[in-house]
Amino acid sequence: MIAFWVLAPVMVACAIAMVMARKAVHSALLLAVIMISLAILYAAQNAPFLFAVQIIVYTGAVLMLFLFVLMLVGVDSSDSLVETLRGQRVAAVVVGLLFGVLVATAVGQTTFGAAVGLQAANADGNVNGIAAVLFSKYIFAFEVTSALLITAALGAMVLAHRERLSPKATQRELAVKRMRDYATTGAHPGPLPNSGTFARHNSVDTPALLPDGTPSELSISRVMRARGTVRDVSADRTLAAEVEDDPGQIEGGDR
């Protein structure tokens, strides 16, 4: 039972950090830690089948689905810190604490007696034991589950489907539109400029410099600007300009 005392503090800390994390991706990863720890606790309590199901279904499928949706919803999914109802946050924490203390005290006051243990029930294997109960006593619930899963899959397909309102533009139509934009608004018909390639930085977060030295807005992905991870190259540029003005300040620069 060392596993419990090692994992329980980790799980509680991860749960609190999950609630407090600013970014949704961090919450998802902390939830993964909690779920894997729970799987280990299941294994410690003679439930090897649930151990496998917890890892495959929860950590493998459900959490990956969460991460996919986070990826689709995008970067501005971080929480707003504005309280809509005044005092709601404090009240929620107080109520949650009271509830936790209440339930924990109630459980702590109850005497359960010695646990029977699953040695008898798991006599011919945990999976065999579960199958024997699942396909006899709970067969109707099991059948209903299949209907539920089919309905869920259909519902997800219906909700995620987007009707195409206009026909898909062909290459030719796109080219004509690009040239018309060039004729009317003067928009550049060619591809967008590359990111900057310099001696110090050549990654995609480095904007290219225009001939007058200002960073080109078009050379950086819109997402990177929204995240605020665009590198500022203007400082490097002034250094380069200084070196150009006074080559003597480079040591050994006798050109």
Binding site: V12, L38, V93, G96, F112, A115
Partner: protein, 99 residues
């Protein structure tokens, strides 16, 4: 080992999840907190299965997992649809029923 520590841990995880549902504004994080509450309940199911010495508790936990998987699929699809029409995943922005 006695079952009490497991149940106390389950209660703590459940209340942390409940606080998260009440406090957070991002629909996806609210959803993750609901998952945490479901997992906390599963832990007590498995613990009580060991206490009583039969496998009914583990079956219940198994069904909770199945229902949770279905719920996540539909719920995330709904969040995606709301995000597509409103460009926001905040639960405060979907307030049309209020007016």
């Amino acid at each position: 080992m006695s079952v009490t520590p497991f149940l106390v841990l389950s209660a703590i995880l459940f209340s942390v999840g409940a606080v998260g549902v009440l406090v957070r504004r991002n629909a996806i994080v609210v959803f993750m907190c609901v998952e945490l509450m479901l997992n906390a309940c599963n832990l007590s199911f498995v613990t009580f299965a060991r206490q009583h010495g039969n496998l009914d508790g583990q079956i219940a936990a198994f069904f909770v997992m199945v229902v949770a998987a279905a719920e996540v699929v539909v719920g995330l699809a709904i969040i995606m649809t709301i995000f597509r029409t409103r460009r926001s995943a905040s639960v405060d922005d979907a307030s049309l029923l209020k007016y």
